[in-house]
Amino acid sequence: MGWQWFHRLGSPRWFYENSRKWLPWLGAVTVVLLLTGTVWGLAFAPVDFKQGNSYRIIYIHVPAAFLALAGYYVMAISGAVGLIWKMKLADVVMKCAAPIGAALTFLALVTGAVWGKPTWGTWWVWDARITSMLVLFFLYLGVIALQEAYQHQETANKASAILALVGTVNIPIIYKSVDWWYTLHQPATIKLTSSSTIHPSMWYPLMVMIFGFYCFYALVLILHTRAEILEREKRTKWVKQL
């Protein structure tokens, strides 16, 4: 009885029809947060006394990296839900989370490389954090490739869900890499358990950007999921009536 919402949530049609109402709100919040965070971070946050203005890249590098990791959870968990409960919507979400996650990981890597040039004097090093992020990028690409590799959607879902689940082993490695192998990448400045090592005047705009990226992720995931649902359900009556 209490599980009715769970089954309803698994219905692609229910999702398609209801997500339409969420989009304008989510879109507005995302735009406001991202614009505020960008202007604040670029123009009003104080200059870093060591890195100069190049540190302003943090306002996209860190949120992109956050969401690259959070997106992996979304992909792996929905893959697991799809495997266990055969929930249609979960399979769709897993498939859609892969290209979005890959794009965000790509952004984290590229902005990191560009930031590295003026700060470390090099675009790329085989540092533990960077390498494990590269592995994350390849895991996303693997899921995308597996989705395309099979004729049958169900086989593709199963294979890519298993890859996504096996790949979760990389997540704690990414988190801990800066502590285990202390090389070039700086350790986490933002901590949940102890106080952060970043000044509030720099931290507030970063927080705005992180929230903005979370909203952006939700928005884009919903958009991709809606497009995918239509194509998968094109033989059903409700899609034909659209």
């Binding site: 123009a43 190049s54 794009a103 902005t111 497009a227």
Partner: protein, 90 residues
Amino acid sequence: MIFQFETLQDFWAMAGHGPYVWGCYGITALVLVYLVVSPLRRQKRFLQEQRRLLRVTERWVAADGTASRASGPNTSGPHVSGQRTSGEIG
């Protein structure tokens, strides 16, 4: 909160870090916009294609009802009339 730069030129130059910072923000903006636009375009194309197919099928069904069934295999069937109809629309 104060604007951290003396002039707009300073803001653009970022004391020498301008290309790095603006480059990053530019790439990010492109990727984010692409992530929003691509599913919207895909959905729009899908719906257009489905409407086209629906019209084609409707015409075919209507033509099938009026035309004689003995018109031969070459002129009947959804594929043939589909090509004709798409020519008319496009």
